[in-house]
């Protein structure tokens, strides 16, 4: 038996999302099982079946999924400080701008 990972597009224009995995002796049987198990409600627009052996996962390869150092300046939250900077600048401007 082989393990197959199943991906489906359920929303028009949406991404392929992993929904489950299943066991089958071959791809032909896997297709039947996917249609019977996941396609039976008519809400699957498209599916992909991938042999698990063909998936490279970072866990199996022992690789961290992202940066190992703090790079908070890559995130929007870091820039909340802009609000404060803008507020201070507006106050300065309202009193006639003077250099520090």
């Amino acid at each position: 038996m082989k393990v197959f990972e199943v991906f489906a597009r359920r929303e028009n224009g949406g991404p392929m999302i992993h929904i489950s995995s299943l066991e089958a002796p071959d791809i032909e049987t896997a297709i039947i099982l996917v249609k019977e198990t996941f396609g039976r409600r008519g809400d699957v627009l498209e599916f992909w079946i991938v042999d698990r052996e063909h998936i490279y996962s970072n866990e199996a390869l022992n690789i961290p999924p992202g940066p190992i150092t703090d790079r908070n300046y890559r995130l929007g939250d870091y820039y909340r400080r802009n609000l404060e900077m803008r507020k201070k600048l507006k106050e300065k401007l309202s009193g006639g701008y003077k250099e520090n």
Binding site: N12, G14, Y73, R74, G76, Y79, M85, K90, Y97
Partner: protein
């Protein structure tokens, strides 16, 4: 045969009107594919060329923090190019090498704003805040594009652009809160960038030849003028609030029509750039060619 195609076209248009999306493997009219390829290739080229003016400033960034931020942004832009070229490859059957060679040869187009020099650090600030801000308005609309593979990556790209413009705003605010010289630099950069940014959204609707079909098939969701209006509504108050002056003395909001009225937008300058004849077009393409040749050994090794 002809009837068959007409039937397919009808079906395609019904799908679009219903608000459904088109996947790479779905049937699509040749003209739809053609317009998409043109749009997507130009977008990919622009992300790649856009990395150059900012990349020049990495060695000259004023602090280690600013350098890290800039490296990260340039890396994001090149990443966008990679994602978008991938979509273009699936759609056009062209290879990435063919597209890059087309770009280097000067036959392909890239966005007008990347044909200009980034003269000083204030330019870097204005580019990240106001040019990326313009890109976010355009690309935000494209997240609803009827071609799903493009719309999906646009969501990811918009998320990153939103961080870029906040980073740009941070430097703008820093300079605007600084010395007289820094404030002058910032105003000068805005003076030079304002009209190219207005051109970024494309010619006025009445002069834009592709708009009608692009809108009908939801390749574009908003017209050039609609995008420009959206941008003005969002950014003019933010720019004025920090004591900067927009270099278009006629720019004002018309209460009656609810629209921004601009002065002469200097479209001659834009038309020159459309023919790849901007102030920095040639040196940038030469630089692109230099990098392309320099990395050929890597492509050969990976092939």
């Amino acid at each position: 045969m002809r009837e068959q195609i007409e039937e397919k076209l009808l079906e395609f248009e019904e799908k679009i009107n219903r608000g459904d999306f088109i996947e790479a493997t779905d049937w699509m009219p040749d003209e739809y594919r053609k317009q998409l390829i043109r749009l997507i290739k130009m977008h990919a080229n622009s992300e790649l060329m856009g990395a150059l003016p900012e990349g020049e400033w990495i060695p000259k960034a004023p602090s280690i923090k600013r350098k890290l931020q800039l490296v990260s942004k340039v890396q994001d832009e090149v990443g966008h190019a990679q994602m978008i070229y991938r979509v273009a490859e699936d759609l056009s059957g062209m290879t990435r090498e063919q597209m890059l060679e087309e770009l280097i040869s000067g036959k392909a187009k890239f966005h007008n704003v990347f044909h200009y020099p980034a003269e000083n650090w204030a330019d870097v600030a204005i580019i990240a805040w106001l040019v990326d801000g313009a890109a976010l308005v355009t690309q935000g609309a494209l997240t609803q594009c009827s071609y799903a593979p493009y719309a999906r990556i646009m969501k990811r790209i918009c998320w990153e652009e939103a961080v870029h413009l906040k980073y740009g705003e941070e430097i703008v605010l820093e300079l605007a809160s600084g010395t007289k010289k820094q404030r002058e630099m910032l105003q000068d950069a805005l003076n030079r960038w304002w009209f190219p940014i207005m051109h970024f959204f494309g010619p006025p609707d009445e002069a834009s030849t592709n708009t009608q079909t692009a809108m009908k098939w939801k390749i574009k969701i908003k017209t050039n003028d609609e995008l420009r209006q959206e941008y003005l509504s969002r950014y003019v108050p933010l720019i004025r609030e920090i004591g900067l002056e927009i270099p278009d003395p006629d720019l004002h909001y018309d209460e009656k029509t609810g629209k921004w009225i601009t002065g002469d937008l200097r479209w001659d300058e834009f038309n020159k750039i459309l023919n790849n004849d901007g102030p920095k077009t040639k040196p940038r393409l030469l630089l692109r060619e230099h990098y392309y040749k320099k990395t050929s050994i890597i492509r050969e090794l990976l092939a």
